[in-house]
Amino acid sequence: MATLTYLQAISAALRDELRADERVLLMGEDIGTFGGAFKVTDGFIEEFGPDRVMDTPLAESAIIGTAVGAAVVGMRPVCEMQFADFISCGFDQLVNVAGKMYYRQGLAVPITVRLPSGGGFSGGPFHSQNPEAWFMHAPGIKVVAPSTAEDAKGLLHTAIHDPNPVCFMEHKHLYRRIRGEVPDGIYETPLKARVARAGTDLVVIAYGAMVHTALEATADLDGASVEVLDLRSLVPLDEEAILDSVARCSKVVIVDEANATCAAGAQVAALIAERGFEDLDGPIVRVATPDVPIPFSPPLEQAVLPSVERVREACRELLEY
């Protein structure tokens, strides 16, 4: 065990995989000599060389497309989008080529796409997005979103070992803010939800950075027993864990940092409405970013991203329902 930041845990997973499996190859913009925009691969090129820590041309479609080609001839590419936002330029290769390949042709595409996502530090409209729902809507792509250092490492191992395309949503705001005990060596975190805090009066369902917002918002909520469920995986979605929490708590608040419409939380709400209705003791409440681009200026950004206060207020209102 070692105490690592969320970012160090991601680096450790990549380093372990490169050492353990010669098929693993890292591809991305500025990840080699520079060590990555966020320094996730700092020092890697010295140990693994420029072929396996590949500085690619600035071309996201090409990064995904060539990764698909390398994967189907036996490699295990791990692509870094410098910012999750830039995946829009690689969307077609991911959604149409990688995501549909196995269903159409029976050919597995084992690629991992790392997507540094999320806002909270004045990144503006093109460095702050949470695009996970785009890929939840596209068949054939798994989507994971760790909230802790331990899960960041374990889910990245799981993603790299998975025979399918996996979007690994790593939240930039957690990179150096979150640290925790991380097991040594390679281990797989299952694509299942995790009870971050057990409770009985209300459950807050969240993933990624919003897990921490939810924990802070409900740490002391007038003595209420509040559960926090960390989804960890969005595709597959751990439906049984969600319904179990709903059955136990009867009141649900769902938090997304993403724009509200058709977000991951909307799918969770639909699931509960369809299959957990009888267990509900109040309306399903959602807290999410309104449907606006993420603004740059701190007061504007803070006005749209779900805050500890907004989540606390939503929980308080629902508890009183």
Binding site: R52, G74, P163
Partner: protein, 357 residues
Amino acid sequence: MATDTAEPVAGAADASAHLTLEDRIELLRAMLMMRGIEAKAMSLYRQGKIPGSFYDGYGQEAVSAGAAFAMAPEDRLCILHRDLAAHLIRGVAPARIFAQYMGRATGVTRGREGNVHFGDWRLGCVGMVSMLPDMMLVATGMAMAFKLRGEQRCALTWFGDGSTSRGDFHEAMNWAGVQRLPVIFVLENNQYAYSTPLDKQFAVDPVARAAAYGFLGVTVDGNDVEAVFEATRQARERALAGEGPTLIEAVTMRMHGHAAHDDMKYVPKAMVEEWRKRDPIERQERRLRELGVAVESLREGIMAEIEAAAEEALRAPMPDPASATEGVFCEGEAEPLGDGRAPWSGFAEPGAVGRAL
């Protein structure tokens, strides 16, 4: 069309140095099989026995036959929709192709996909997606892996004149040039992208652009199967020698509409008539007749094979509707592409596979 700046393929007009008589017959056979299967399929489509729409490659048979014939078992191919001969050369049985068109359970994609949207991964082939030319990047990635692993292998993909307008064309050409990858890009210039002619597609001929990406672009008569073979054989030699990618512009003509519904009235009649004189199959037949090959009996044998294959496909079951939601994700190990059939005699020589020559 070909430009002054592109280099012609040396020796393309007389490729017999690298082709045995059996090879030359095999090339004709692949083209006849492609044309026959597609003609039969068009007829089945008109009878309502093939759903969706139907696309063929009438007049372009030499491009896929010639290029695929130069590829070794361990090479990998990303095949476009007017390139049926490539599938045949790699070893896909005609009955599976008819079943594919009909959406049957025994088709190459088990009813998941239609038309020529297939590739038998066990034979080293990946089927296209409709967003063109996405597969240029996939082929580039295959070549990247080959180079990283130090393997003597090559990737090849076909794409059309229209798709050179899209960004993935640039991204693939650039990436392949920067990394000097063993990839062959076969630009199938068939004069029209659906209804859009070349002069509305680009200001600079794509083959001339190869130099801008740092590698060789060559133009070849896309209606001469042996010339296409020779251009590809040379490109493969260069790729395996570490000399990087080649863009081959195979100049041809799409003699049918974009799909079954298209009467191609936007194409001048004189242009069609002119190209009809350059039919790739008639050309190869003439060559072989002069060498004493019994072309007619070859043709008859192929037509009988095609009829039997169509009958077999018509008897095959449709897929089980309950299976429609199955197989979105791979549950087991990811298996990489397998090796395909490679009938060129050059690969049968001792030690030939994996070498340039």
